[in-house]
């Protein structure tokens, strides 16, 4: 028995390929049910986000399991064959698979290291698999551990501390100019996606007053209702700027929309209260000369981007701490997994010995004819003593190796030597039916 992971992510595969294999939320129950029934797979979890599609599974036999899981993955995208997929695929097993899962949950494997969404996505993937009974003893434990490692990394390292998206960098800057964003007014000029995203971040950070201007006034009204904002005719932008603490410019214009004179006038009527001007349009919409005015702070997309890069470097340092956390969290799980293999082997060996014992005693007693109670007792004692003494060595050895890295090898050897396959199957069946009831 082993835990394996097969998948493709933002590093190994382009988005065109990843999105073909992505499993939408609505298809997840069906996909999990199919995975659970797939040959050689005992437990499974599907983690499908825009940056990765990964399958985690518990299999009886590693090599066959990996092959089987890869075959399953291919079925997720009907029109893409194995040849195209293969170079983008990674297959991991045992400690490596566990370590990978922990790194994913800790956001160390993300495109933007430290991004907060992935932990929630891991949790979601596990919850869905749990509700659809695709997981068992092993994945329940390992997934829960992965989530707790993810949480630990978030609380114990600064991995998620500094802004690493342009929108968020803008919010962080705004907070260094204005103490209390809830009293501040944002003027959004242009309603491109980037502009709306940044405005949404600012609202999330507490801004309550938003004005929206657009060349097409109808659309400004549309968006304004979405944002609970005030629509402003485009011709009024320069006038309204006096009331805006933050001006967010993101139009498709190919010339400057706001110049130093406009800002100078606005600052004068604001009695020099500082203004934060964010130009996230390309080409730029705010004349760079605005930046040299006192009390006007102009940041364009490149400035914000370079701030993001600096913060990413900062995160790199914190990521090292996070890697350390992952490093210490993996081995205990591996040990536990190994002991899982040994324990059923011990049980199976005991059970096999007992059944042989029972069978042989019954057979010999039938042949011996009538015996006194004392004689029967002695026959049974003899047989039991022989089996116990014979098993003593192997059982002790198995128990001793349960936690070591040799556990699996010992278990497999014992299974082969004593031919325990049937018994193990019985035990596995009993376990899974117990879990279904539980």
């Amino acid at each position: 028995m082993n835990i394996i992971a097969v998948g493709l992510n933002h590093r190994t595969a382009p988005v065109e390929l990843r999105e073909r294999f992505a499993v939408p939320e609505s298809h997840l129950p069906e996909a999990l049910a199919r995975l659970k029934r797939w040959p050689g797979i005992d437990e499974g979890v599907i983690l499908s986000t825009c940056n990765r599609v990964e399958l985690y599974a518990v299999v009886k036999e590693t090599a066959h399991g990996v092959e089987s899981l890869r075959d399953y993955l291919v079925t997720l995208a009907s029109d893409i064959g194995w040849e195209r997929l293969e170079p983008h695929l990674y297959c991991l097993d045992g400690a490596e698979a566990i370590r990978h899962l922990f790194r994913v949950a800790a956001s160390l494997d993300s495109m933007v290291v430290g991004e907060p969404q992935i932990l929630g996505q891991v949790k979601e993937a596990y919850d869905v698999a749990l509700t659809h009974k695709a997981t068992g003893v092993v994945l329940n434990k390992v997934m829960k551990k992965a989530i707790s490692v993810g949480k630990r990394v978030r609380t114990e390292t600064g991995i998620a501390e500094h802004a690493v998206s342009v929108s968020y960098a803008a919010v962080e800057l705004a907070k260094k100019i204005f103490q209390n964003l809830s009293e501040k007014t944002v003027l959004l000029v242009g309603i491109g996606e980037m502009g709306k995203l940044a405005a949404r971040h600012l609202i999330g950070a507490g801004v309550r007053h938003v004005m929206i201007a657009n060349r097409n006034y109808e659309r400004a009204i549309d968006v304004a209702t979405q944002f609970n904002a005030l629509p402003v005719p485009f011709s009024q932008v320069h006038h309204e700027m006096a009331g805006a603490d933050i001006v967010l410019c993101a139009t498709a214009a190919d010339a400057y929309v706001i110049g130093p004179d406009d800002v100078h006038r606005a600052l004068r009527s604001r009695k020099n209260r500082p203004m934060f001007l964010i130009d996230i349009s390309d080409p730029r919409n705010i004349d760079p000369a605005v930046g040299s005015l006192d009390n006007a702070y102009l940041y364009n997309i490149d400035d914000l981007q370079s701030q993001v890069v600096t913060n990413l470097g900062q995160r790199g340092l914190e990521a090292l701490k996070a890697e350390d956390i992952v490093r210490v969290e993996v081995p205990p799980v591996v040990v536990w997994l190994k002991s899982l293999e040994v324990v059923p082997t011990i049980v199976a060996l005991r059970r096999k010995a007992d059944s042989i014992l029972r069978e042989e005693i019954d057979r010999i007693l039938a042949k011996l004819g009538p015996l006194s109670a004392r004689q029967r007792e002695l026959v049974e004692e003899l047989a039991t003593a022989i089996t116990n003494k014979l098993l003593h060595g192997p059982l002790i050895a198995l128990k001793a190796e349960a936690d070591s890295s040799n556990g699996a090898l010992f278990a497999e050897t014992a299974q082969r030597l004593f031919d325990l396959e049937k018994e193990l199957e019985c035990i596995a069946k009993a376990q899974s039916s117990e879990q279904e009831r539980g």
Partner: protein, 267 residues
Amino acid sequence: MNVLFFEVTLLFYFLGTTLFLVQLAGRWEGIWKPAFVVAGIGFFFHTLALVSRMIEGGHIPLTSMHEALSFFSWALVMFFLVVELRYRVHILGSFILPMAFVSLISAAALPKEIRVLEPIFRNVWMHVTLSLLGTVAFAVAFVAGLMYLIQEHMLKSKHLDGLYHKLPALDFLDELNGKAISFGFPLLTLGIITGALFAEFARGSFLNWNAEQIGALGTWLFYLIVLLGRVTVGWRAKKAAYLTVVGFAGVVFTLVGVILKGQHPFA
């Protein structure tokens, strides 16, 4: 006894200053906690020093330059502790505490003996307290202005590192600056009026145009303009920060003048 307390205070302020300077330079974020505790203990001993000095001398200990500087330092630290508890602006300690320490060590260098209070000086403490509290407010305005200029520079140069993360928002600093001046100005005004009354009473003339009186009047006029400029024509933000930094230099200059020339009845 008061001298012992004074020296213990000096030790704690030195320690607090060191910790707060480490905060300014270093990356250890939690350092404000021990620094705050050390400053608090120092403040406790400082209070003891002032109270025991009052009991030993039998009058409010504001009759010599040593006592004035010690009181100035005490009021600064008190201000810092209150603001820290209220607003959690840890970085403020890195500016205020060194200032309090410098003031206290200057006090330590001056004659420390408790003077026998001539009857004529009995009510001089009112003038001294008001002027000193006004000066503390200007010192706070100075610190806010200095922090503003640093943060302003970081934001303008887009060099967003180190201190940028530790300093508070620009508008908070500007507000602190404005509040400190509108608080300090009336105090200084009253301090000057009581001083003039005292001079009239002691020497028979309100004003005798000596250096520190001219300095005090100049300071008063300067802050009056700063205050009016803020209210009327929007001298806030960067301009206000500059003016208060420069203005406080004038205050320190006047104070040093008073100490060196020794004309003031104080020195």
